[in-house]
């Protein structure tokens, strides 16, 4: 379970939001909403532990994430704005590295299957620099299919640059993860066809 209390975020010398609280339980899908610049990405980065909060507490299963980082990061999958794709490597090499770097032992066959499933069967061995924006996005998202045992998925604008079918597939994958007891926290400006309408957290309500 993820708990956030009294969270405040300082960007430069401007306080973006304060007193933000949220609670995410197994099986829940939370959509972080709000206009541009309100601090959605900043909130996600705080929750993942990449950035440090100005004030407040973030707890994973009752323990502060700043005190015990490793168990939290073992249960976390974060896909940010930047897709973490190197142009000189193929999608397969990128995906295998992403898994290995995160500390997951993943079978190369499983990586291939994940890329085929996300619609990159013909681009497996091309260098990533020739891929389109949507295809690069998919390489990053392929990690979702290899990360079922990571409970908490934090996704920053996962639907950007994807076509309609890919959006539907992704929404289904997220719903399935939640149905299996996972948690998903995401930002999006699009309406995605989720099986269960997600809970919405409006960051704008906590803006300063």
């Amino acid at each position: 379970m993820l708990e956030v209390e009294d969270l405040a975020c300082l960007k430069g010398d401007r306080l973006l939001f304060r007193d933000l609280a949220l609670r995410l339980q197994a099986g829940e899908l939370l959509r972080v909403a709000g206009p541009n610049g309100v601090g959605k990405t900043s909130l996600l980065r705080l929750v993942t532990g990449l950035a440090l909060p100005e004030a407040g507490q973030i707890r994973w299963n009752g323990t502060s994430i700043s005190r015990e980082r490793e168990p939290f990061h073992r249960a976390l999958l974060y896909l940010g704005h930047a897709p973490a794709i190197n142009d000189l490597l193929s999608p397969l090499e990128n995906l295998r590295f992403a898994c290995a770097a995160a500390g997951d032992e993943v079978d190369p066959k499983a990586c291939e299957q994940a890329l085929v499933r996300i619609g990159l069967a013909n681009q497996l061995d091309l260098p990533a620099r020739v891929l389109s924006q949507g295809q690069r996005r998919r390489v990053g998202l392929a990690r979702l299919f290899l990360s079922a045992r990571r409970t908490l998925w934090v996704l920053d604008e996962p639907f950007t640059a994807l076509d309609v079918k890919a959006v539907a597939d992704l929404a289904q994958a997220l719903s399935e993860h939640c149905a299996a007891g996972g948690m998903v926290m995401l930002t999006t400006h699009q309406d995605a066809p989720f099986a269960v309408p997600p809970r919405v957290l409006d960051v704008g309500a906590y803006a300063c």
């Binding site: 532990g49 990449l50 990061h73 974060y78 930047a82 973490a84 794709i85 290995a100 770097a101």
Partner: protein, 222 residues
Amino acid sequence: MLSTFFAVLRRDLLLAWRGRADVLVTLAFFVIVVCLFPFGVGAEPNQLRAIAPGVLWVAALLACLLSLHRLFAQDHADGTLEQLLLSSEPAALWVAAKVLAFWLSTGLPVVAVAPGLALLLDLEQGALPVLVLSLALGTPILGLLGAVGAALTLGLRGGGMLLALLVLPLFVPVLIFGAGAIEAEMSGTGAAAHLLLLGGGLAGALALAPWACAAALRIATD
């Protein structure tokens, strides 16, 4: 636990191979800088022999500096660094892997061509093993200290220039003992003391620099 280390090492070496033009530019820079000296100071063999240790070491140091800013820049820009910081493995481990890959693709070629350039400057053949050994011990220290500087200047405007200002003073002791080892060997006093100090410096940098670098990277992505 070592799987992250080897994954990063393998990937960075693969990237160095795919972008080998960058590696060759560094090596060519080293060769050209050394070759410039005879034009500048004249082709008098005694004079060249006297300045050879310093010239080779300063050129190696500059070649290393030239490619340092690339160490984390690409990973920072494309988001890979964030993913690495979110790994449940200790950050010092993969930082060490990155520095090792950097040294293998930048430092090792410099160490390999240095004896050839030393002959160009008429360095005594007896001093060549000491030259190779001092560079082999010293360039990893440059990589480790430089990595801390590269992490601290990551994402800053004019980071390359700042990096040079930050790390060049830190390179001075390495330069003194590196070049000093060759001079000591030429003068007959033996290079053991200098080489031992370089080895000690390497052990110290190896133990401390990855942690400092990891801390700096966390600040840079905050």
